[in-house]
Amino acid sequence: MKSGILNLVLKRLATTVVTLLIVLFAVFFATSMLPGDTASILLGQAATPEAVAGLREAMHLNDPAILRFLRWLFGLLHGDLGTSYANEMPVAKLIGGRFVNTMELAGITTLLSVPLALTLGITAAMLRGSIYDRTVTILSIGIISVPEFMVATLAVLVFAVYLRWLPALSSVNEAHSLTDLVRIYAMPVITLTFVISAQMIRMTRAAVIETLSTPYVEMALLKGASRSRMVLKHALPNALGPIVNAVALSLSYLVGGVIIVETIFNYPGIAKLMVDAVATRDLPLIQSCAMIFCLGYLLLITAADIIAIMSNPRLR
């Protein structure tokens, strides 16, 4: 049985590499179309022709873009992410701290939103058709329909400005004690939980409802099982596949899609770094960030598939 999972993981790794290459080439093609280059943007108003030429020389931007991309790719094999054009610092150092921040925010949000969404989804499915079920559905539709920067700005205004309970900014480097940590992460985590859990609730509810209509659940009923036992013991294990998939999709949003939350809370994450990189046409930085987003997405999808397989003995 174990070989089942092993060759799935290997097959999945192969596709990950292929997908990663496709993404990197697509991003390279897009960035090479961007007008202007790092030198002219850095010089801004002082960009006289000879100043730009001098700086390009200093940053060795003169050799063709495809060559620079391949050199970056080659460096990648040795684990070297190249040096940023804008400030000559190694990309790894630039990304390092921010990657940890993004992972921390994503981690905490996951710990909060996934259990919340699953319980709401499952209980809504169990009490299908009741008032509780309809309120959960209406609420999740409502939350999905509000733009996230509205949610974030409202949260800041209410909690930070008027009530002064929580800081408006998430200056992560001042978190010494646990209470600091909670205070600093409270707002961005609440906003993100709002944004991603709505979708998970809807998916979980649909998956559980579908498994509730299967013959083996009816069999459990005919064995005298209570409603909760039917859902938890029989419906949920078989609904795990689609649920885990929905969770993976929502979590992949946490890596790259949170640019707006990062902007409003001034949270130094990778999404904002990518925006800066595009603004300064910093090729190695753009490629590294794109790689991280792609890897994050693919790892989550693979994990989802593995969990789905583990939960279903027929595939194991």
Binding site: P35, I41, L55
Partner: protein
């Protein structure tokens, strides 16, 4: 608190006094001031001055946290490469310049003890004694020569390479004297060297991420695009300074997020707040606004060498179409002063108040446009967020044009790459000019026939002759007279319309003291860290 406010009359003063006596609330006061037409909104400023006239003595200690408005991975501690406010603030806290401009725009000595020259061509600079770098090494003439020479090396990519080009020779006469020779005489050299880019770095420095300078603070941490923290330089050569123990500077690009951060107490200082957030700040207690008219302006350039700028009537018509009061009121929310289409701002000693701008007169504009048959055609006007408030100005002019049947098509383009692709190139486009200490720099940079940034391609041999003549003059009165005449020429003949000088407004908590205006820009010309202190 700016005490040098150009259009503040004693009548306004009396009005405020009795208002306070009647117990007028802050909101009523603001309404009264706005209604009264005084183009001056920051009532708290006035309140600040009227109530605690006697400034408290400075208190030392405390950590000060401020937020600028833009940062990216391109942040740097190399003064030559500094490109925006975030870099200037950090450089000012870590390094010193030979000279600096005080709140009245007068050049004061800093690292230099004296500047003297007979013919304004070769200058001898005496350095101050007993000044050490953070790493303990003494300041010598070699450091100054190295700091000046590197601007000429193209691989450094210095922002002031063009201005430095006129300094042809640097020589360290002895350990504490430097001799600078210029290509041609320029009486403004001491003022030029007050620019932030001419900060003095240690001889031979290549890695600027250490921030090793002679400034009031020593670098603790620097993460480009995120934050920087500097701590008090114990053996700073200016005795008794700085008052603060540590100073953290971050950047929050979203305007409302920056204001909210200030209101929630996360930061003590929010630089350059958006006029729209003014109302919010006004309704909160414990916060002040500091307004400085520094000479920064956004201008509408009509290239005289391209269609439709070629037709003089079109330019004249456009000058009548610009409703300057409405721009100051709506686009700048009252935080600015009406401009007269010439670059020298009221904050500059050489400002010529007699040059009057063309009044807003749509009918005259219509007459001019009809004369050249341009009425009804769609004329593209390029604007972008890169030039502050240019979009709001464009929309106001567009609306005014629509009234008289003039179709101005406002094209908003993304800010990155704006200076490279649209500025100086599009037939009609907006620009934004940062403050410069001297009219000579402004005119030679923007209006001379061979000026690198001649936005409207204004070519006038008479103007060029006056420029060179004024540059070498040491007699200040004569220079003021010539510069006044040049200002009226530019206002009349050039294709650049400067509707208003933008005031820079910073918001700060009431506990922050010691902030003064400065012609070089907001945050006391970016050098506030050295002078501020925090009340208990």
């Amino acid at each position: 608190m700016t005490d040098k406010i150009t259009n503040w009359t004693s009548a306004d003063d009396a009005m405020v006094e009795n208002a306070i006596r009647r117990g007028a609330s802050r909101r009523e006061l603001l309404k009264m001031l706005l209604a009264g037409g005084a183009a001056f909104a920051a009532s708290s400023m006035v309140l600040g001055r009227a109530t605690n006239a006697v400034a408290a003595t400075p208190v030392s200690g405390g950590t000060f946290k401020a937020a600028g408005w833009s940062s990216s991975t391109a942040d740097t501690l190399d003064p030559a490469k500094a490109s925006l406010s975030t870099d200037y603030v950090r450089c000012c806290s870590l390094y010193n310049r030979l000279t600096f401009l005080d709140k009245d725009g007068v050049t004061q000595m800093e690292l230099a003890e004296s500047f003297d020259s007979k013919d304004a061509k070769t200058w001898t600079v005496k350095l101050r004694k007993g000044v050490t770098f953070h790493d303990g090494k003494d300041l010598t003439a070699d450091d100054v020569v190295f700091s000046m020479k590197r601007h000429l090396d193209p691989t450094v990519g210095s922002k002031v390479a063009k201005i430095a080009a006129q300094m042809t020779g640097f020589k360290a006469v002895d350990k504490s004297t430097v001799e600078i020779t210029l290509a041609d005489p320029n009486a403004d050299l001491p003022t030029i060297l007050a620019l932030h880019h001419f900060m003095i770095v240690q001889d031979g420095t290549t890695d600027f991420s250490k921030g090793n300078g002679t400034g009031a603070f020593v670098l603790q941490t620097f993460e480009p695009g995120v934050r920087s923290v500097v701590t008090k330089n114990k053996n700073y050569w200016k005795s008794g300074k700085p008052h603060l123990d540590s100073f953290e500077f971050i950047a929050i690009s979203d305007d409302s997020a920056r204001v909210n951060a200030l209101l929630s107490g996360d930061i003590n200082f929010a630089a350059s707040i958006n006029p729209r957030s003014m109302k919010l700040l006004d309704s909160q207690q414990g916060f002040e606004l500091s307004k400085t008219t520094s000479g920064n302006y956004t201008d509408l350039n009509i290239r005289l060498d391209m269609d439709p700028g070629k037709k003089a009537d079109f330019v004249a018509g456009m000058k009548y179409l610009v409703n300057r009061e409405q721009i100051v009121k709506s686009a700048l929310r009252g935080l600015g002063e009406v401009g007269n289409d010439q670059p020298v701002s009221p904050a500059n000693v050489f400002h010529n108040p007699d040059v009057k701008p063309k009044a807003f007169d749509p009918d005259k504009a219509k007459f001019h446009f009809q004369k050249v048959g341009l009425l009804g055609q769609s004329i593209p006007v390029v604007a972008s967020d890169a030039a502050t408030s240019s979009i709001d100005m464009a929309v106001i002019i567009q609306a005014a044009g629509a009234e008289i049947g003039m179709k101005l098509d406002v094209q908003r383009v993304p800010s990155d790459g704006y200076w490279d692709n649209y500025w100086l190139k599009a037939p009609i486009h907006f620009g934004n000019i940062n403050p410069r200490p001297t009219p000579d720099i402004l005119f030679s940079l923007l209006y001379a026939s061979n000026a690198p940034w001649n936005e409207s391609q204004y070519k006038s041999p008479k103007f060029d002759k006056l420029l060179v003549e004024a540059r070498g003059l040491l007699d200040q009165a004569k220079r003021k007279e010539i510069y006044g005449q040049m200002q009226s020429m530019v206002s009349e003949e050039a294709g650049t319309i400067i509707p208003a000088y933008i005031s820079n407004v910073d918001a700060l908590s009431s506990k922050v003291k010691g902030l003064e205006a400065n012609p070089l820009g907001g945050m006391m010309g970016y050098a506030m860290a050295e002078y501020l202190w925090l009340e208990a």
